[in-house]
Symmetry: C5
Subunit: 328 residues, 5 copies
């Protein structure tokens, strides 16, 4: 199968028994959807409401689900509408500016699947290809299509999570080697923030896949259960990795802040210690800088060296004492 280009952001494919998938015009959708032997795959990128309304009319989609399909701030969820299901998913990608979220909505009807994408960089070509290949007993119908798409979405989370993981681990390594600077605190904060956002996006997918498995045997048949369970396991692992990372990021931030504070305090303490050591000769020297008429020591020949050496000795004594207490 050669993958047709998605022109005008729209792609409609019909899968017929024994044939390679064939691209059709959007207008031809209603002609094919009536025949239960056909399976339709429709993929729209950021459609306007008119286009969606027309499609909804042809496929008998529920008004509420169409409203949802146009929005971009959905939490992942699964809604049941008599004749069709509506599933909202989120995709994530790492851009320079941070994590970019996209929306991927799915309508799953008796013999069609509609994919609505908003700002999502996820390409479903591989899913379409697997569907066309008909391997391992997968036939081109909604359940297989849904499995391939979900599998793609969840797999698509991995590189982002892995990069976050790597970033954190390299910071943590530096941290344990004592090489983290104050500015790196911000990096840890940013990582934690993005991990939280990621979890917020991926976590509800657990419930979506779980509900599919538990409540929709008409889609997740006994034979397919293991495949959807596999998807479920992947979501679970992703969330569990994120939770572990989040906890670690919190711990690392606290540890780093504590280390920085202790390091600063230590500097102040050492400087204060040296200040104290120097304060002793300062006092003594000031003493003999006084201009009293009667200061007999001033006239003694050895007074000067005695005072200087005495001060020095006092300073050394103090230095040793502070050293012992760990104050210097």
């Amino acid at each position: 199968m050669t993958e047709p280009k998605q022109e005008n952001n729209t792609l409609s494919l019909v899968y017929q028994e024994g044939q390679a998938p064939r691209e059709i015009t959007p207008d031809a959708v209603s002609d094919h959807v009536g025949d239960p032997r056909n399976f339709l795959w429709i993929d729209l990128a950021s459609p306007d409401s008119a286009l969606l309304a027309q499609l909804g009319n042809e496929l008998d989609l529920h008004e509420l689900s169409m409203e949802d399909a146009l929005t971009t701030h959905q939490r992942p969820k699964l809604d049941e509408y008599g004749e069709h299901l509506f599933i909202s998913c989120k995709t994530v990608e790492l851009a320079e500016s941070g994590i970019v979220q996209g929306d991927l909505h799915l309508f799953i009807g008796r013999n069609f699947i509609v994919v609505i994408r908003h700002h999502s960089g996820l390409d479903l070509a591989r899913a379409r290809e697997r569907l066309a290949r008909r391997q391992n007993g997968f036939k081109p119908e909604r359940a297989s299509a849904l499995y391939f798409i979900l599998d793609e979405i969840i797999d698509h989370y991995q590189p982002t999570i892995a990069t976050m993981h790597e970033r954190f681990r390299s910071l943590e390594e530096l941290l344990l080697e004592g090489g983290l600077e104050q500015a790196d605190l911000e990096k840890l904060y940013t990582i934690k923030r993005e991990l939280n956002a990621l979890r917020d996006v991926i976590d509800p997918m657990q419930a979506v896949v779980h509900e599919l498995i538990r409540m929709h045997p008409e889609i997740v048949s006994k034979e397919l259960k293991v495949y959807f369970r596999d998807v479920y396991d992947h979501v679970l692992r992703a969330v569990s990795t994120l939770d572990l990372l989040r906890g670690s990021a919190s711990d690392a931030m606290q540890f780093h802040m504590a280390t920085l504070t202790l390091r600063q305090n230590e500097a102040v303490q050492k400087l204060a210690g040296w200040g104290a050591i120097l304060a002793i000769p300062t006092v003594i020297f000031s003493l003999y800088g006084m201009n009293f008429k009667t200061m007999p020591e001033l006239a003694w020949t050895w007074a000067y060296p005695v005072v200087v050496l005495g001060s020095l000795a006092g300073g050394i004594l103090l230095y040793r004492r502070f050293k012992k207490r760990g104050w210097i």
Copy 2:
């Protein structure tokens, strides 16, 4: 339909088959409620107990629910009273002084809905209009009315949440750019406080809508389930957004406090470093300010420049050392 003005804070409408809604006087309520083909919408703003008692008598409302309907510090809840349901909701609006909470109580009877409002700025005109329009198979009866009202209430939370979100994000952006001052800590605290209050108000709505869906099939019929599920999803999303924001606000506060502390400590440390650098020449200069008779150096011609330059050199040496350690 032209929306009648709500005079004297009271509005009573009767919806009859095939007719536009008609306003009636409060006295006429009992005349119409007997006919099951009528549907009554009664809206009272801060009624006194006498007015409510009269209405309760006509509509056979339970005494406990009427007590609750007069109070303004209810948690959102759903109570079942044989012939009618009682639902307590909260509305929130953003005023200059912060978030203002209002109460909106609902009595849902067989063929009537009573709305009691206290300090709530939520106008239900749009809900009444949708009810009158009879679109999408919605008939003017309690379930549709309840759906329109709940939908309105939940939608009404959005601008407040969005504003809080925006406020926090702009603070956070400043924070990451290092532009937050100490005074902004208070702003973060206030935001967190208001997010907590918001969550406290919105969270119990989850249980209310969930109970409606699960326990009241006589209202939430199979056809309407998707609509109430949609309301439920919106509450869920609101609470999840608030939770994410609350966590972020906590994190931001901690990060800001840590940054402020580190910044202050850094200043003290640097000043202490300079103090130490200056302490050396002070000691030496005091030394040669002593008035001993016998201080041979004093008479040496080059002693003065040597001492001054020596002190300077010592200071520079110390400066470099501190710089290297990051103490200055």
Copy 3:
């Protein structure tokens, strides 16, 4: 009905059909309890074990429940003993020294209710009066009596919670205005401690009332369910208010501590800044306090004003720099 005085800390009332409640002597309890048409209300304040044992004998109370009824450190709980229920409640009042806890144990038999009070300031006169009034279809029997008592107990929590709320809010207001002193930290700590204690007392009442509603239809009949649900809602609201307050108290404490620390650090930092500014002239002045023979500047006519003004200029320069960095 005139409420009889509770003499000797004991009050026994018998409610008979169509008659006002009549006080009886403790000895007469066994004469009346046999007739199922009678309802007995027995109220004992801090009884000794002998008195309770006698009563237990007459009413066939279980030994374990009587042991519990004598103790004062029970957690609120509900125990089922074949023929009767035993409910342990806690009352709270605000005294000068803080929150004072009392115990209120209830035995609920087929046609009697026994109230055992320890150090509880809760007067049940209003409950007895409501029982005697027989309004709203309430008959003098165990379910009504239990409802009136529980309602009283839960209502009795409100003033304490409200006072705590008010105390905290006034502290928080001061906090946000920057008017809180270090000593107020202790007040916040004390408030939090008392909120914890309050929650510990009130929270288990949820389970007690819930178990009553769910597991004891022989008491909480279908008609009375709404009343017990109302009590349940009140407990829920009380606990939820306490939880919100506890969270707020924690947040306020943290914010206050952070503010105090930052304020102190700021003072130290400013003082260190001034120290640094003054250290410059000190060094210079010490320099020219040296007694070297050959210090040509000393003889220059303008040296003195130049040095003084130079030091001044240096100080001003430093001051401006520190000001700009926010160090002073």
Copy 4:
């Protein structure tokens, strides 16, 4: 009944109908256990594996439960082994060195109970005595014996918890009076640590007793349910007390640390304030200690008092300003 001494760390008793319990030799166990009218109580302190194996053979105990019975680091748990139950409990006592944990394992068979004790100071004499007394309808059989033993174990936790409670309260009182020193932080830490250990030991007992009540009606008969519920309530109360104490200990530690830090900071701040006040005259005095030839003020008659008094006035001014700002 006179309680037989537990010689050689072993005690075997047989309870026969209508007779006082009679001590038997370990060898005689198999002779008596066959007769269902007999009830055997066997108590072993730290038995070796040979002794236990022999007993296990006679009583048909499961190999896994015997392995567990020899270990001392079990979490409290209940295991069901066809013919018998195995329950692992923990005892705690307060020694000088802290909390000492002991193990108490129970085998509950049809007509016997075996107690295996390791390092446990709990004496079950009272339980045996209650069993022999046959009061309140308790017959000498496994359910009664189990109840008496569990009751004893749970009661045995009370003094330890009470002592911990008292220790904490006295520390907290000192804390609120401001009398806690830095060294007391360690005491708070130790208390929290021991509270955690205690909770870890007692908390699983909840599940054990709950499982007994819910899953073993063959032991916890309807009549005995109230007694086991009472035990359950006691565990619940113990855990809830521990949880409250743990939370309080955390709060107290945080509060104490904050207070100590603030106190130290305050001292540093005040000392820095005084340093600044003294720095002014130091600068001025150094100024007039310079040796310039041309310093006209030096010759003025009133210069000296003016400078001294001026410095004093400056110091006082600064002092007042710092006092007002709370810096001193």
Copy 5:
């Protein structure tokens, strides 16, 4: 039985009734697996995909499970695939560089068990030996094999946990004796980090074993239930020990950080105190170092000793005052 060496990282054993286990070549697997009276144990260390694919073909393993068996970053899980189960486990060992994780995947078919190991140091020789011994009614079949393997895996966690426990306890002991240095903070951080990683690996094993017991009676027969319950208890205990340790490590870190900060602050405070004590004579000495013409005290005979002793007395006074306040 002599344990055959695992050559080429592969070991295939066949257990036949009444015979000692016999090693077979991998090719012979398909010859033996057809006879239900045979039981096969196949153990592969880091197989390549070709080898696994061949085996999967012979044993009819599901493609998804084979994919999983090749990966090394699985969370422990149990998957059901019609004819066989797939269980993923983790092993942990303590190396110099920290905790090393290995993977151990299991395929459990009707009459075979396949073990796939990646980087796991766990030797299953003891499990194979127990299987061959046929003690306690264990026959060589999948349930016994699975029990022996799980038992081995869980037991294998113990030394690692015990070592972590010991490391922490020795650090904590030092901490309470005041002997912990700043560098030890990092050790505490590393311990906490490794405890988190350990928990993340072991915790999901709870769900795996629980699902085995609850959902797979075809494997965990009534007779074997106690054995799998025993495994379950061990996992539970391991996780609970880890949780207690993690909490303790957090507490210890906080306590240590607080102690370090307080210690540093104390040093700074004491040094500041001494600075203040020395500042007094410095001021006075500077005073009499001034060069005013008219300073009458300069000429007084006793002025010098009076000033020196006065300064000394002032210093002592201040010292005592600071001592009393705990500032020095």
